[in-house]
């Protein structure tokens, strides 16, 4: 998947100026854009049972809905899993997606986080070439983006970076393509801001 390059890369990096999540989802008035495909981040609680994930992913493929990313893991209550799905669609499609998800017997709760203020974070691990003059430059780049070097060899670094998807994109774009050996991203996890809580 190709993500658009992010212009304000460096400004968005520091924690004190982290406006990432609010920038990432800007919902125009619905009346204007009812049929425009918007990015939505949907959170759900579901029974932590075998097959629950395939019911959700099967629903998306059977009904032709998009999945940009999907992450899932058990919660503090081991009988429940929390899933975050990033998808795109018109208001009508998103309404159907949430209704269809609610209809699944294993799904306990569904919330479209994009309906309100929320935070989203993604983790990326990047293995980069780090030899010769690149070695110092890489370390500096990682620092600028508040990344951490978590593994070192004489030729490479592995950098851990968290942030919004756009921040991770920005880091990738800031690196010279040839220096990237490998990347792995988790997809977004989301949570409501302030007192918004998704709990049973």
């Amino acid at each position: 998947m190709v993500r658009p390059p992010h212009k304000g890369a460096v400004e968005g990096a520091g924690p004190s100026r982290d406006r990432g999540p609010r920038e990432a989802v800007i919902d125009p008035p619905q009346s204007v854009l009812g049929h425009v495909n918007m990015r939505h981040i949907i959170s759900l609680l579901l029974e932590n049972e075998a097959g629950a994930l395939s019911r959700v992913s099967g629903l998306f493929s059977a009904r032709g809905y998009n999945i940009e990313s999907l992450t899932v893991a058990p919660t503090e209550d081991p009988t429940l899993s929390r899933m975050t799905i990033v998808t795109t669609g018109s208001d009508d499609v998103i309404e159907q997606i949430t209704k269809q998800l609610n209809k699944l017997v294993d799904v306990v709760k569904v919330v479209d986080l994009s309906d309100g203020e929320h935070i989203e974070r993604e983790l990326m691990l990047v293995k980069v070439r780090a030899s010769g003059k690149d070695r110092e430059e890489m370390k500096r780049m990682a620092e600028i983006f508040r990344g951490r070097i978590i593994d070192v060899t004489d030729k490479s670094y592995t950098i851990e970076l968290t942030g919004t998807g756009t921040k991770l994109d920005a880091f990738i774009n800031a690196l010279e393509r040839g220096t990237i050996l490998e990347t792995v991203r988790t997809g977004a996890s989301g949570i409501g801001r302030g007192d918004r809580v998704l709990k049973i």
Partner: protein
Amino acid sequence: MEMTAPGVMSQVELTGAEIAIRCLQEEGVEFVFGYPGGAILPVYDEMFKQDKVKHILVRHEQAAVHGADGYARCTEKVGVVMVTSGPGLTNAVTGIATAYMDSIPLVIISGQVPTAAIGQDAFQEVDTVGITRPCVKHNFLVKDVKDLALTIKKAFYIAKTGRPGPVLVDIPKDVQQAKALFHYPEQVSLRSYNPVVRGHAGQIKKAIQLLMQAKRPMIYTGGGVILAGASGELTELVRTFGFPCTNTLMGLGGYPGTDPLFMGMLGMHGTYEANMAMQHCDVLLAVGARFDDRVIGNPKHFNQEQRQIIHIDVDPSSISKRVKVDIPIVGDVKDVLQEMIRQVAAMRERPDPEAVKAWWEQIELWRGRDCLKYDRASAIIKPQMVIEKLYEVTQGDLYLTSDVGQHQMWAAQFYKFDKPRRWLNSGGLGTMGVGLPYALGAKLAHPEADVACVTGEASILMCIQELSTAKQYRLPVKVVNLNNRYMGMVRQWQQFFHGNRYSESYMDALPDFVKLAESFGHVGMRIENPADIEPALKEAFSRKDDLVFMDFVTDQTENAFPMVPGGKGLSEMILV
């Protein structure tokens, strides 16, 4: 996560197979439709040792599901199916998908290879839960015998509540053989599954106000009314308002078919008056229906006319799916209609009589178009006449099943259903072959009643082997075969939309149906003359103990009219 209420408990450990049968007994299951095989043998062994639950041995697993489905459609009960793993299950998939599309409550119990063999490509192994996932309401793989009873309890609960549907329980053979204490709870509730029952009172009030202001009202109802057992409430509400009412193919019998307020079926082969009224109404009350493509045709064309829509449905995802709705009411149809009746009774306000009268005058003009007319003087048997005579001979008191195609449409158009659960057909999936097994299920449920299956020579051959099941269990249903030597609906589409090129739709090398019926131990009749239709039907229905297969040789060129071509609007019908 579930909560349970105490129920039946055993003092000694039972095998999984015993538990499965005990569960069915506790649920009060009368019939299990099934077919044994290796991975389900322990359960069949327990079936053998008891006589509370009666097993109906079909000749193909597809028919087992259709049989249970037919049984469920004409009762308010859950149909139960038992099949083995692998091919037993894959054969059942068509039946399961058929029931799923029409929201019919079923519990399917399938054998599975032992847990240790799962994933090893064992003999007769398939990923049952994976294969059926998109066509069930829910499914389970039971890995521990301790979970078995509760899982079956959940399966029945999920199948029959909310929007009903099939639920499958896959039981590996070693789980059938392992032992556990049997505990069948009286009740179960799930934190992740809470279907809405009560409709929102404020929405109901708004809906009634809108109906009171309607100038050109229309009431359109579907299978949800039948499933909710809400025909009585619907009839009362429609008569209180005096508004026109139409039913979908699945909704026939929800409102009395002989009532003057009834407009006939709507949709692709609906009546002219129903489709025109649907298109031109200003307030539409949709009850337990889902605006599907065979009902409203092209949604863009449907939306060209300004109208306000009230939609009552137990499934929120059916609302505003294809058509935007102004007043959605999520709830059990029966509950919501009762509340509407209560509120209307407490009001003095009534709809504008002048406007409604003018609307009825318009509707009568549309009715005058006589859209179902056909050549009654034909020397060749017209299929429509067979259905009309069937209605006369049975005086409307019949459980009627059909297969899929032209004959299904003629049956829906020409047989008048005054009661719910009398008309059994595959509306959603459109599965050829359902007619005969549906009829067997209906006859088992209502042994004293007359049951007939209207079919075509193509459809009937898809489950013809069930004539053998009918013989074994002495199920004297009547088969009305409208034999035009073509897959009639396919031929009709080829005539209209594919330049008369009848590609592979001619049924060459048909069997002699009279001899075929006789070979199964039944009575066969061949009827070639219009004058013989009525006497043949009378004779067939007088033979109370015989399955009579009536092979009517009908006009090959007859088409089902009116017809809304695919992608067209409701008011763009092809008429006779």
